[in-house]
Symmetry: C2
Subunit: 354 residues, 2 copies
């Protein structure tokens, strides 16, 4: 029985990737050993990391001026690692939600942190846009997709200073000019793999700007030199990510994902705007293709709606515990069919409960 | 065809654990969803973490005065996190190998770091013993098992100050009085699970000693309060660890593991001492039950020996790239049968090549 997995993350992964991951737990590359119990220094595991790096570069159309590494600790650890390495004098951030706020909080520990704009007063229901990035900061940092609220920036700013972005929840979901960025990071547990690895893409010449002394595990230079293996890396999470990147590449890459994601978002948001029982919670122009947040006009009907969702095998549609309501997360691996099932349920529910 | 997995880590895991892990990649707890694509805030995943914590406490016979948390970054991240939290004035370390040296290096970044004793001048072939732990340090830190050299401390010192230990490569392998310790950490990829999670056991009253301000991800207090879920945790690695802990408990706990490990070590080291072609590289009294390092008296015979190892389906017996030779790692999940296969191969090789 197929479950339609709208979980906000860790989120849906391609079925074929899960099957290969399952097989590797018992027999990795026909070694009769599990991927979970072999050395990360073995030829086959090193090849997994190398393939993952090359797939990222190929999908994003970037060259050897960038390093691609896989670390641990999620985006939350990057919130500290980024300023630890690069905030020498001051840095600029935009506050678009809880994750951006956390990144700002950690940066303040390291130095002056300008918040150029914030939509906090409006409960983060839109993306602030009219701000100017100053030229005297070490970098400008923003969050491309805000999972908790369902807002997304798909047109990226030009920046007079190094441009940094947390793309944890929408990396590889639409085409963009990656060469504009000096540093991109993403916890892999939305569009790439399971929880437990963080991808960091950074321009190699950025490493020359590191001035602060710091412990090895916080230092990007050391991880780049170690090719993600300064210490024992999260092998399985990187393996699953590599499989997902390979799946994406074989299906047509980011253009294919973008077309699919636009179609899913169009299908869902059209129904949301048409249906008299539901309404969206964010400014239309800032709606995320990854996470669609909505509420019911009559909260008393929520339990009945949850019941029909369950009957239709729709999973993970609850809103984040901090905001309530509903949230349909439609990451790369989700088929249009699953969104159609959700739309059908919403239409049927309107007929019987409208 | 069974492969005898002597890998130093990530290392051998119980077959039944690997089968369950493989199943969970496709269908976790009969949800028809993969463990890799569900929220860590779900009831079933929270139960995994709770079970893991309770199994650790039960196996080590410790109570609620201790917190058990699962973090990311391996022991290498703990090398920094420990002094970041607890080195206020000065700390004392013993240098028993590469990992201890790295822990010392990171501690120096935070404050005065006394090295009470070191066997570095003797290539770490023994464990230094005649040192006195000073009473005016914030803590005393040592490494219980040194994977690269094959030495181990199984009788733990009494300490007038908080006692900290890196038990990455021998946790749960023999009985010891855990209540002597204030903080124990272990990358899970030897005796517990795959790479990607680190277990930390710490006395809760230790948290009162944290004085330094620091980013959230470095702060034990925050991870203890968040019950390992301050941010998205490495769910799969913790799940596999929980399964291994459960396997250990059902089989008889640490006493069972100790008996097995002693028998394996006795079998292997007896042959090593008897066989005219091989010799051990460390002081006998400091030999590790987890990692047995040895060399051939005639290095010209190494290639021929490697060939017969391969024919016998023996894997992972190469020494660490920094020291060469051979290393037989015999973690908890290894059966005596596999050690017997290795011993048979050594005896046969002596007959034909002696």
């Amino acid at each position: 029985m197929k479950v339609h997995n709208f979980s906000a993350g860790p989120g849906i992964l391609p079925k074929e990737v899960l099957l290969k991951a399952s097989e590797a737990c018992i027999n990795f590359n026909n070694s009769n050993l599990s991927l979970l119990e072999v050395s990360h220094r073995g030829k086959d595991v090193i090849e997994v990391f190398s393939n993952a790096e090359h797939l990222v570069k190929s999908l994003l159309n970037i060259g050897d001026e960038y390093a691609v590494i896989f670390l641990q600790g999620g985006a939350s650890f990057q919130f500290a690692m980024v300023p630890h390495n690069f905030l020498n004098k001051k840095a600029a951030y935009v506050n678009t939600g809880v994750w951006a706020s956390k990144a700002i909080k950690e940066a303040k520990y390291y130095g002056e942190t300008l918040v150029l704009a914030s939509s906090e007063a409006d409960n983060f229901t839109h993306i602030p846009k009219n701000y100017i990035i100053p030229e005297d900061v070490d970098y400008f940092h923003f969050t491309s997709n805000n999972t908790i609220y369902g807002t997304q920036t798909r047109d990226f700013p030009n920046s007079p200073v190094p441009l940094f972005c947390d793309m944890s929840s929408d990396i590889f979901s639409h085409r963009f000019d990656a060469s504009k960025f000096d540093l991109i990071y993403a916890g892999v547990q939305k569009n790439m793999g399971p929880a437990g690895a963080t991808m960091v893409i950074l321009k190699k010449d950025l490493l020359n700007k590191i001035q602060r002394k710091m412990p090895s595990m916080l230092n990007y230079q050391i991880h780049v030199e170690g090719e993600s293996m300064y210490n024992t890396p999260p092998v399985f999470a990187v393996y699953v990510s590599m499989l997902t990147l390979d799946w994406l590449k074989r299906n047509g890459g980011i253009e294919w994902a973008e077309n699919r994601n636009r179609a899913k978002a169009d299908l869902f948001y059209s129904e949301l705007d048409r249906n008299s029982l539901f309404k969206g919670t964010v400014t239309k122009e800032d709606r995320s293709w990854m996470n669609a947040n909505f509420i019911m006009n009559d909260p008393a009907k929520e339990d009945a709606f949850k019941k029909v969702l369950k009957e239709a095998n729709i999973s993970g549609l609850n809103g984040h515990r901090s905001v309530g309501g509903f949230r349909a997360s439609m990451y790369n691996a989700m088929d249009l069919d699953s969104v159609q099932v959700l739309v059908n349920v919403m239409q049927e529910f309107e007929k019987t409960n409208g």
